[in-house]
Amino acid sequence: MYQIVRKKVFSPTLKLMDVQAPDVARNVKAGQFVILRMDEMGERIPLTVADYDREAGTITIIFQEVGYSTMALGKLEAGDYLLDFVGPLGEPTDVQNFGKVVCVGGGVGIAPIFPIARALKEAGNEVISIIGARNKDLLFWEEEMRAVSDRLYVATDDGSYGRQGFVTDILKEIIEQEKVDRVWGIGPLVMMRAVSEVTRPSGIKTIVSMNPIMVDGTGMCGACRISVGNETKFACVDGPEFDGHLVDWQLAIRRSQMYKDEEKRAMAKGQCGGGCGCH
């Protein structure tokens, strides 16, 4: 069992948890993910690591409540336990001194971009970060990101905080004005696709972190397959980071919809508390 030692609520649907998992915390690196399971009947939920504390033996996860399982996860409190918590999974970020890099975090993608920006900063890069969300309530870790960045830009879709617009608007301006050596973009699929399209014309290598439907996370099931440069890859063992210019985004978006109907059924069950026999 893995105890939740801290919970922070950013907004009604956006939550942070520190989970006691010393074996994971010991070896985890930026870019890797964990899979957790709340209870016996729960799904295996993959989440990219937002932060870690090797001494305290904790892993920080930040998640948005988008479906039945993440909503149920959001109801847990500090002191509660998760049944399973496995990791670190996937390949870590390739951290080198590239020169000048831009780290773009969209929505809940701000969480996984944070340790990457920090590692890139520690490796000697000039780090420009752009974070954005639909609105102010969904924005978090501005100060944390600022602390690991040489420059930080903030955007909200509705203009409720920072600049009004998309993270890609800011990215576009930056790459028009200065030479950038590498870009990381993490967030919703459409946002990562947009980031990749912005950098494509200038050929700036752009890394995205894919979070497809997954079951075991160790290469065993093949559920997480995506197409990169016309080759099938398993995001869990070959990734989760890939060259955004080579990802087949249409396929990735389609595959992410695979269980949309089932998700609705599960949500309906969740809303009436289940066990009512009405579904």
Binding site: N27, T218, T232, Q250
Partner: protein, 466 residues
């Protein structure tokens, strides 16, 4: 006494009823059945059956115990050689092993050794509450990576020799393919659980959620005080055919499909949170045991038509005979001498059909089977909405790619001595599917057993040398 030519039949759930549930299909012998079948064994002085068993169970002896109605004694006899008898009695391909060499089989059916094994194992589970005697520790520690049949066997044997054994399992339950791969209707999970509990009673420590290669490498395990490591990480990487459309929604690897159902209880969705989707018409590509499991599972999930699509003929089908028979009884249809060339989909990316080509059989190839040759211009489209790829699995890469100095083959299998499991690294042994490629539960157990003996010999020699 006149010899009875036919095997005592195995009671089974009626086919029409069983495709509506996940309960076990074969119901097991009654005492009466077992006694009757045991009488067919002529107690050969030189038992071929025993040579045919990868773990050398003393078959004549355990059958003799059955004849004496000493069922617990029979179970204990098996357990001297086989730590997982209730599992082997259910899933071993006996027709190619022990029963293949049975003398009685020369003039009729061989003795139903597998069914008898299952009977005594089940009897002992239900009636023998004695905990195994715990062997005191000899102070040496062995790490076992992977808790499938190879790892569990190796762990149990080493623990019985006095070693302190820790088994590392990547998933949240131990058992490997026994838990995620083989369906409930063929191998009830409660049976696997009980066998694993027995290992825990012996003192084997099992750590779940521990992905070696990520949480720690094999090299680190050795540095941290394990005296030897056994790698039994199995064939956990599904093969696909690399044909167009293979990533459409509705195309599963058999591993994913079976894991969603067996391990995550997808058939109980939404009570259990992991969904599984099965359409009206399902094609399963491949004809091994895994393909049969996937096809029969699809039927139970409500598919109207389920096809096994296989590029050779019925004679070459690699699945166990009994599994094929059960599948056919349940209504699974064979589409032989056929292989997919493309999966067709709609605008939203869902499978709408599967384009196939017909094959004919030519001369025998290097496998000794007649080589399938595509028939030009024979393409046709199968009307299916779900495709399950069951064409085999490769070695899981996590351990081979993270273990410094470990020699692997071009395909990514670990190079290990067939008799000992010794790898290119001192103190590191390997066995089961990670070495041989996808095979059977019992062969993996045989490899685990040999490795346990080799690890014991290695550690004894090492302590003598020091």
């Amino acid at each position: 006494m006149p010899l009875i030519k036919d095997k005592t039949p195995m009671p089974a759930q009626d086919a029409k009823a069983r495709i509506k549930n996940f309960n076990e299909v074969a119901l097991g012998y009654s005492e009466e059945d077992a006694l009757k079948e045991a009488e067919r064994c002529i107690q050969c002085k030189k038992p071929g059956c025993r040579q045919g068993c990868p773990v050398q169970v003393n078959i004549p002896e355990f059958i003799a115990r059955i004849k004496e109605k000493d069922f617990i004694g029979a179970a204990n006899s098996i357990k001297e050689y086989n730590n997982l008898p209730a599992i082997c009695g259910r899933v071993c391909p006996q027709e190619n092993q022990c029963e293949k060499y049975c003398v009685v089989g020369k003039k009729g059916d061989p003795v139903a050794i597998g069914r008898l094994e299952r009977f005594v194992a089940d009897y002992a589970m239900a009636n023998d509450s004695a905990k195994p005697q715990r062997i005191p520790s000899n102070g040496k520690k062995v790490a076992v990576v992977g808790s499938g049949p190879a790892g569990l066997t190796c762990a149990a044997d080493l623990r019985k020799m006095g070693y302190e054994v820790t088994v590392f399992e990547a998933l949240h339950v131990p058992g490997g393919v026994l838990m995620y791969g083989i369906p409930e209707f063929r191998l009830p999970k409660a049976v696997v659980q009980k066998e694993i509990d027995t290992l825990r009673d012996l003192g084997v420590e099992i750590k779940v959620n521990s992905v070696i290669g990520k949480i720690e490498t094999v090299n680190q395990l050795l540095e941290q005080g394990y005296d030897a490591v056994f790698i039994g990480t199995g064939a956990g990487l599904p093969y696909f055919m690399n044909i167009p459309g293979e990533n459409y929604n509705g195309v599963y690897s058999a591993n994913e499909f079976l894991t969603r159902v067996n391990l995550m209880k997808g058939y109980l969705f939404p009570e259990y949170a992991t969904p599984v989707k099965v359409g009206r018409r399902v094609a399963v590509c491949g004809a091994g045991n895994v393909a049969m499991d996937a096809a029969r599972t699809a039927l139970r999930l409500g598919a109207e038509e389920v096809y096994i699509v296989y590029r050779r003929s019925k004679a070459e089908i690699p699945a166990r005979h009994e599994e094929l028979e059960h599948a056919l009884e349940e209504g699974v249809q064979l589409v032989l001498l056929t292989s997919p060339v493309e999966i067709l989909g709609n605008e939203e990316g869902w499978v709408t059909g599967m384009k196939c080509i017909r094959y004919e059989l030519g001369e025998p190839d290097e496998s000794g089977r007649r080589k399938p040759i595509p028939v030009e211009g024979s393409e046709f489209v199968m009307d299916v909405d779900t495709v399950i790829m069951a064409i085999g699995q490769g070695p899981n890469p996590l351990v081979p790619t993270t273990t410094e100095g470990l020699a692997t083959t071009k395909r990514g299998n670990i190079v290990a001595d067939e008799e000992t499991g010794q790898t290119s690294l001192e103190g590191v042994f390997a066995g089961g599917d990670i070495v041989t490629g996808a095979a059977t539960v019992i062969l993996a157990m045989g490899a685990g057993k040999k490795a346990a003996q080799a690890i014991d010999a290695y550690l004894k020699q090492k302590s003598n040398g020091n």
